[in-house]
């Protein structure tokens, strides 16, 4: 805590010239056999595809940056770079604090295990210790309203129940940086409302949020600034209303 107080000026997320290239092999079969055939045919040349090119922004605690753009604009790639999953090919990303990547919630779930076991495993994947997670199990189940289904394997869960569980664990770790990629569109109306409340709570308590969504109304409503990406490039960044309007005008 001392650190974050003393360096209150330092933003939670800083992206400078962040770029990411996927090396894309046109004839790539993904097997040695396929590779050998490619070599024989002389088709091993791979081409680089830049999913992101020179993206710059900084995000302070308690701030929400909305990210919009068409499919394939590089939004999810940017989320993954902030979440530390993908290292940038060029440029630099600095993230101060714990990150909760809410990209496809429950990616670490094992369907044969119970909710209890999954909470501990998923939380540990997100950087907590098993001991901390075991203490949180009851709280998380309460919030997700899954108390009656604690010890059954989660393969019996509905997709809505899984989403609730994933969201509950990811937000329970009280992250400093929250990366949200289109996850609030899952679940029923009451869950959406509840998760929105939880998010606002986290923002109020000082979390920096990166929010990706195709729901432009929601983006305009919750964001302090909006970043518009197109084919990996920054088109515009600034006031939510202006950016969203410009984006709508371009479509």
């Amino acid at each position: 805590m001392e650190e974050s107080c003393g360096s209150a000026v330092k933003p939670a997320v800083e992206a400078t010239g962040v770029s990411l290239a996927y090396r894309h092999n046109r004839n790539r079969a993904g097997t040695i056999k396929g590779f050998a055939i490619d070599v024989v045919k002389g088709k091993t040349a791979s081409e680089e595809v830049w999913a992101l090119k020179d993206v710059n922004f900084s995000l302070s605690s308690g701030e929400v940056l909305g990210v919009i753009g068409r499919n394939g604009a590089g939004k999810s790639t940017l989320m993954k770079i902030v979440a530390r999953v993908l290292p940038p090919t060029e440029g630099r990303i600095v993230v101060r604090g714990a990150v909760a990547p809410m990209i496809e919630l429950g990616a670490g779930f094992n369907t044969e295990m119970s909710a209890r076991e999954n909470i501990v495993l998923y939380g540990t994947l997100l950087g907590r210790t098993p001991v901390q997670m075991r203490e949180r199990v009851a709280n998380i189940l309460d919030w997700a309203e899954l108390n009656e289904f604690v010890d059954v394997p989660i393969r019996t869960y509905s997709s809505g129940m899984l989403a609730r569980l994933g969201f509950a664990v990811a937000t329970d770790i009280e992250p400093d940086v929250l990366v949200i990629d289109e996850v609030l569109s899952v679940g029923d109306a009451s869950f959406q409302l509840k998760s929105k409340e939880r998010m606002i709570q986290l923002i109020d308590s000082g979390a920096a949020v990166l929010f990706v969504s195709h729901d432009l109304d929601a983006v305009e409503e919750v964001s302090d600034r909006v970043l518009w990406l197109d084919r990996g490039h920054t088109v515009m960044m600034g006031d939510p209303k202006e950016v969203v309007q410009a984006y709508v005008g371009s479509v």
Binding site: M1, E2, E3, S4, L20, Y22, R23, G30, T31, I32, K33, F35, K80, I81, A83, R84, V85, L86, P87, P88, G91, R92, I93, V94, V95, R96, G97, A98, V99, P101, I103, E104, A107, G108, N110, E112, M113, E117, V120, L121, T124, L125, L126, G127, T129, P130, V131, P153, D176
Partner: protein
């Protein structure tokens, strides 16, 4: 606690040291993954973890019928079942370990492409799970040693030595396979064939004396032969294997592990991008 944590992409070059400290930092996760590997496999079966004990016994029975009753193999100085079962539990550790570690990264792709976790934790967990399975399967072996009158020599407390070096070998080979499997999926199929070949080149169910003198070096050049000789010496013979077996065992384990870690750290940056 975590609020002072800073991630800076410029400073994450990950030398081998980072690789090792990651295992320590993520030891809680490692433990969970090992337990998951051990329990989930048998979760839907009635016998559950008992399969770990039953599997080597069943395999042993088949081999015993074929090679002891049909082909009349005999090992001087020790009941054939003991020779056979010690070979089977040993080679199972190797084969299962390499395949599980090798497929660990591909199998955890869905997690690794969404949450930041050092990938090697998954590989090490697979190798350790194989070690735990091996340890459990020593139980039926020791019981059979008692029943057949071979007894349990004091050297049994030294069994962790060959087990440890085999773990290093398995982890090293597994990391090599795991790095390659991300780029070429059929590496895993090739590995299965390779592992089977090496297993047959290891005297698990046949006596080494059966091999003609001028071909015997092929078996002896296989590092696994040395591990197995050391292991059998400790577990039922109550004897130390020749020194060259120890040298071969330790040297091969260290070389393969370093090679595996080196290749893995060099390819990690591309790993997730490809996943």
């Amino acid at each position: 606690m975590t609020s002072t944590y800073v991630y800076d992409s410029d400073q994450s070059r990950r030398p081998i040291v980072t690789e090792l400290t990651n295992i320590w930092v993520y030891r809680g996760l490692l433990r969970l993954l090992v337990t998951r590997d051990l329990t989930v496999r048998y979760k839907r079966s009635t016998l559950g973890v008992w399969w770990t004990l039953l599997n080597p016994l069943l395999t042993m029975s088949v081999f015993w019928v074929v090679f002891s009753q049909v082909f009349r193999f005999e090992i001087p100085g020790v009941p054939f079942v003991v020779y056979l079962l010690s070979g089977i539990v040993f080679i199972t550790f190797f084969a299962q370990g390499v395949i599980a570690t090798g497929s660990s990264i591909v199998n955890s792709a869905s997690v690794l492409s969404k949450v930041y976790v050092p990938a090697e934790v998954f590989s090490v967990a697979a190798a350790v799970a194989a070690l735990v399975n091996f340890t459990i399967s020593l139980l039926p072996l020791l019981v059979i040693q008692l029943f057949t009158g071979v007894g349990i020599p004091w050297t049994v407390i030294l069994v962790p030595i060959p087990a440890f070096f085999l773990l290093l070998l398995v982890a090293g080979l597994g990391l090599l396979v795991a790095s390659a499997a991300v780029f070429f999926y059929d590496v895993l199929d090739l590995t299965a064939v390779g592992v089977q070949l090496i297993s047959y080149l290891t005297p698990t169910f046949y006596p080494i004396t059966m091999i003609p003198d001028h071909f015997r070096w092929i078996i002896q050049a296989n590092p696994l032969y040395s591990y197995l000789t050391v292991f059998r010496g400790f577990v039922y013979e109550g004897a130390f294997a020749p020194t060259w077996n120890f040298v071969m065992m330790i040297a091969s384990a260290i070389v393969v592990l370093l090679l595996g870690v080196w290749v893995f750290t060099r390819s990690w940056k591309n790993l997730v991008v490809v996943l």
